[in-house]
Symmetry: C2
Amino acid sequence: MSELYRSHNMNAGPGALPLEVLQQAQTELLDFKGTGMSVMEMSHRSKEFDEVIQTAEADLRELIGIPSNYKILFLQGGASLQFAMVPMNLRPVGASADYVVTGTWSKTAVKESKKLGTVRLAANTENEGFKTLPTSLDLDPKAAYLHFTSNETIHGVEFFNEPTPPDGVPLFCDASSDFISHPVDITKYALMYAGAQKNAGPAGVTVVILRDDMLERVPANMPVMLDYKIQAESGSMHNTPPCFSIYMIGLVFKWAKKVGGLSAIEKMNRAKSDLLYKAIDESGGFYTGHAKPEARSLMNIPFRLPSEELEELCAKEAKKAGIIGLKGHRSVGGMRASLYNAVTIDSVNMLVNFLKEFQRKNG
Amino acid sequence: MSELYRSHNMNAGPGALPLEVLQQAQTELLDFKGTGMSVMEMSHRSKEFDEVIQTAEADLRELIGIPSNYKILFLQGGASLQFAMVPMNLRPVGASADYVVTGTWSKTAVKESKKLGTVRLAANTENEGFKTLPTSLDLDPKAAYLHFTSNETIHGVEFFNEPTPPDGVPLFCDASSDFISHPVDITKYALMYAGAQKNAGPAGVTVVILRDDMLERVPANMPVMLDYKIQAESGSMHNTPPCFSIYMIGLVFKWAKKVGGLSAIEKMNRAKSDLLYKAIDESGGFYTGHAKPEARSLMNIPFRLPSEELEELCAKEAKKAGIIGLKGHRSVGGMRASLYNAVTIDSVNMLVNFLKEFQRKNG
């Protein structure tokens, strides 16, 4: 058998998955634990799949430290559907919700929420080019909730301490791109959601962590698939869930526990991002980071080169060197390296060496 | 390497997938076509994934014979989310829609639709125990659409000719459990949708085939993920689609073409279901089919034994013999064999022989 070729995967999502997770999925693909079936072929009501989904939930509970008064849901539609489901379920008619806007994704959450009711901006850093975190918040003490985006995938700004809402206002978070990348005190949150396809698994499943009391807000007569209460009561199995994606995130949760849990993972992520930020900072202005140092994301690192031509060439030559996904989001251009949990420090070293060499040749 | 164990998979969904499709997925799982990445790790904006989704669409177009004035969408949330999206998008405010009710799933579609507007029943066979198709329809010539369920997965009744709506009333179909199991004249339909997890692939992707003119009905300001127009304009990639599930259905579409297309597949499906119905009919009343002969599904075959104890025993002994998924849906009990495209005639022969032997021992 020829040696396995694996690229250095810096994709912003879907992104790199742990090699051993993929290897286990490959081994079990035709016959899951002696059932004579793939996970993809098993009934979602079978005891085998029940164990898959229960174990995924239990492992996530342990990994983050989620108390029993929180439900964990495995839904579909990505964070983009949550942008609508959150206000549909949890903003009572006539109430207003506060949003902190720090980049494209929180701005998009606001746009969706406004279609369905009243939004107030507690902060908006767009005038500063989405390069930083807000220095102060204008908070409504009567808000239905305070929503923020813990990491902006496109602009590369990340909260390291969550905003503090007024007493009695629940805190909601879109954690799609820094989910399970560092420890978090979930008891500060009433709702956290994340599309899986960054740190947690393949696209096609969305994790929603929801404090029980929030379910009392869910209005009657919602379409079943958009109703948190029905999804919670049915253990995410009102209809057929995305079984294989749930199986995959379960394997990733097991892997995250095995490598030491979220503290160990944060340490690795800090080491990785430090390497790249250092290379950017020491390039004498050839590479310039987008975010201000105090707001720099550990996950997504957007940066620019002196010209678009050089950016084009850099992404192209990186690809030749096996470093994939360096082109910035089509909405902002430039470059971006995403250093999710499964990206190894070897890959980051490879990237840093490549960037140094590229500067030497083109700087 | 030990010989591969594969069960005889009669699950109602998720269900059996073609072995060679799973084998290809297994082979490519760690390195898709020399990219050094799994399909699960690739950007949905990459040229490699673009080819995956475009090829899946083109193959489905060829398989069914879908003209260019139809869009093909790959969405999430299953048929259950379509139950809400269909009226949200395509029933204008104040208009009424006609529904044909022939089993649990069409009844559920009505329940969801009623939450959002006006429903009329063009037919309802519940009083006859959902054993047959309606003999006549009470049609509203001004209906926004006529909706029917081509195959009822739980009750095992299947339409072999679609109902004919009044002139100008578009025909909509939930084809989840007989999708790509036989040829269909799609030009008779304005909308067809199907959760993949029966004949087309793993759970987590929903195929929606939609005639272009329907998009003019979509109201403004819908939540983006629930908006057919936005999904159509973005080629199902407004946000990250369920990439791996789309890859898998693409492999299944290729397989379906390779085995001869939908006519050949229907022929195989008829041969398979004939075998089982014959065994039921020739059992002298030990096994009794649920559906009346003229409405019998080729896909899902619910049947009863003389007692619940015998049904329990039969399912248990079948499982020991490697025949999986024979328990009927929890809402109706009894037995059910699902003979989707990927279930082989060998598996059906195995089932028939098992049932004969079970009757000999217990009849």
